[in-house]
Amino acid sequence: MSTAREEILARIRGALGSASPAGAPIPRAYRQVAEDTPEERLERFAERVAEYRASVRRCDEAGLPATIAEACAARGVKRLVVPPDVPETWIPAGVQPLRDPGLSNADLDAADGVLTGCALGIAETGTIVLDGGARQGRRALSLLPDYHLCVVFAHQVVGIVPEAIERLRPAVAEGRPITFISGPSATSDIELSRVEGVHGPRTLEVVIVR
């Protein structure tokens, strides 16, 4: 008596017959690497992130703490979720950090926002990618709070999607979950008018650091 697995595999082999595929290589004539300069790339990234109605701030490394502080102040953030390895220097004075691990869903939900770094940014699509690596923490941290402030370093920005996929190989080899974020959450399910903010953070703000 065959198992479901055996039966399905047998059905597949039966369906395809003995004809083995030519094994011709997959035609990959699409762009694998972007052809722009780092400046163009960063500009495009900032533009496209902003197009999703995620606000964008820019600074240099020295100005990062002040920029984070300004963002939090503008938003009225008092209690800020931070992943375990986000540096102390990033956390504004007067803001209470809620450090993971140890935060419950209720804690995350009640917080005013979350501050993370990222794995990389994709210029062409205005996408931020989190891979659970440095300064990002586990997925729930950037999912439940209603405000996500994300720090992106210029050298983290790639041009196009295939480049991003390539750079994520180590993360996936380690089995780390990966999240692509392109703007705040949205739906077009009510008469097709786009409504922002259903379940993920309804406000996404990005700080680009040169």
Binding site: I12, A29, V172, A173, F180, V198
Partner: protein, 477 residues
């Protein structure tokens, strides 16, 4: 293969259309919806200099995958298991539902939260869960709407496109017990957010489908907009993903192709808000248990047809629905299946059996707009004509002249016979010129009899010319 039989045989497409065409609200909604998305799609596709190269790569990857499907599924299974996930195989809907119900029961859950998955609609998972005393809570806004309304989806991507805001407000107030609510879309969305947040926190089991599953790494991908996918795949202790076997893709790098093709084709965006990629289980981050259910349910049957099997390449973007002039006027319900529109017309008959969906291959004027926009270049018109051939061969000489099919067969046989001989053709032209006389009014035919009457409902017909071309040609030499 088990597809739950409806209480009545589904209406033939032509009959369902007659009803659907009267629904002007639906037609206006669809016109607006599809028009909007088409424009957006065209705009973001035009941005990419390598769109055609991506389509060709997508097509080739899917074709290669199907031809080596067994190997990829085995590789996927091994990779998922290495990463701490459990893989189940389901030959049909019943088996898949049993597997899912067992897992949910084992964890003592009475409620599960679900991300929209057409695959789970296909197998009627929610009904099976309900029979086992488990409530499946749909968390996509549109799915929530139609679940509350007790209806079924009418569009792959925008399932509640047939409902307007007033109807949705009324529904939420009644079914969610909300006393005051405006009909502004933002307020409706906020109401849904609050209601579902509680559910996300309480649920012990989440259920999703999968857009792609990478064999090389064991990674599953869910592409979404609202964030409920992230919620369902991150918060519960247990995650169950039900996935058609055709969703497997060979390599990690292939995601670079499909994550470009899908968002631009479906919502007309450069990238959808959220894409979640997970591999098995990850300590301290997300579910403790991950189950991947690999579903056949007729797909291996589709695989048997060398021309028809390209229907399995579909990445469920719904671009074909949005350009189809027939779908735009008929809506999804007219197709009588969870898979509507052009892709539905070729996939459904192959999944459920031609006899149960023999009108679907004819639900098309073969305009080819779908083929032009399909991100993986499924030649839908070719498959439609191919399936029509199968329908004709199967119905065979069983149908006598008392049925419309029988009369059609007879008429086409006679026509074919006439066209095979020059003299017969010329005689037939002359005969028709005489026979048409009673139908002529002011030089045009106003009404045709019998099965041809459909033509003259709104069209006059040009009659056989007083002198045919060949008669003129012969006369001038």
């Amino acid at each position: 293969m088990s597809h739950p039989t409806p209480a009545r045989p589904p209406l033939r497409f032509e009959e369902a259309v007659r009803i659907a065409l009267r629904n002007t609200q639906l037609r206006r909604n669809l016109e607006r919806a599809t028009g909007n998305i088409r424009r957006k799609r065209a705009s973001v596709v035009a941005e990419l200099p390598d769109w055609e190269a991506l389509r060709e790569a997508g097509r080739a990857i899917k074709e290669r995958t199907m031809s080596e499907l067994a190997e990829h599924l085995v590789q996927l299974e091994a990779a998922v298991q290495r990463a701490g996930g459990v893989v189940h195989w389901a030959r049909d809907a019943e088996e898949a539902n049993r597997i899912v119900v067992d897992i949910v029961r084992r964890h003592g859950a009475r409620e599960v939260v679900k991300v929209k998955s057409i695959t789970t609609d296909e197998i009627r998972l929610n009904a099976a869960l309900e029979r086992a005393g488990i409530q499946a809570i749909e968390t996509d806004l549109a799915e929530l709407i139609i679940q509350l309304a007790g209806e079924s989806s009418s569009h792959i991507l925008v399932p509640a496109v047939h409902k307007n805001r007033a109807e949705i407000r009324e529904l939420f107030m009644r079914r969610l017990g909300i006393r005051e609510l405006s009909d502004r879309p933002a307020d409706l969305a906020a109401a849904a957010r609050l209601h579902l947040r509680r559910k996300f926190f309480e649920a012990r089991v989440g259920i999703s489908g999968a857009n792609f599953a990478v064999a090389e790494t064991g990674t599953v991908a869910v592409v979404e907009s609202e964030g409920n996918g992230r919620m369902c795949t991150t918060l519960p202790e247990v995650l169950i993903t039900v996935m058609g076997i055709e969703k497997v893709i060979p390599r990690w790098e292939d995601l670079g192709v499909f994550l470009q093709l899908l968002p631009r084709s479906s919502t007309g965006e450069r990238m959808n808000p959220y894409t979640s990629l997970w591999t098995g289980v990850r300590e301290g981050d997300g579910p403790r248990e991950f189950h991947l259910v690999l579903l056949d349910n007729g797909r291996t049957q589709v695989l048997r047809d060398p021309t028809g099997r390209q229907a399995l390449h579909c990445i469920r973007c719904s671009a074909c629905l949005n350009v189809c002039p027939v779908y735009a006027r008929a809506g999804g319900h007219a197709y009588g299946s969870v898979y509507p529109g052009p892709i539905g017309a070729i996939l459904t008959p192959q999944l459920v059996g031609l006899e149960r969906a023999s009108s679907l291959p004819y639900a098309s004027s073969l305009c080819g707009a779908c083929y032009d926009v399909c991100p993986v270049k499924i030649n839908i018109p070719e498959v439609l004509v191919h399936l029509r051939g199968k329908v004709v061969r199967r119905s065979g000489a069983r149908r006598g002249p008392q049925t419309a099919e029988g009369r059609e067969r007879l008429a086409l046989k006679v026509l074919g016979w006439i066209l095979q001989d020059r003299r017969r053709f010329e005689r037939a032209q002359r005969w028709a010129r005489v026979a048409q006389r009673p139908y002529l009014q002011d030089g045009m035919i106003r009404s045709l009899p019998g099965d041809l009457a459909g033509w003259t409902v709104m069209r006059d017909l040009k009659p056989v010319a007083a002198q045919t071309f060949r008669e003129w040609w012969v006369s001038r030499s």
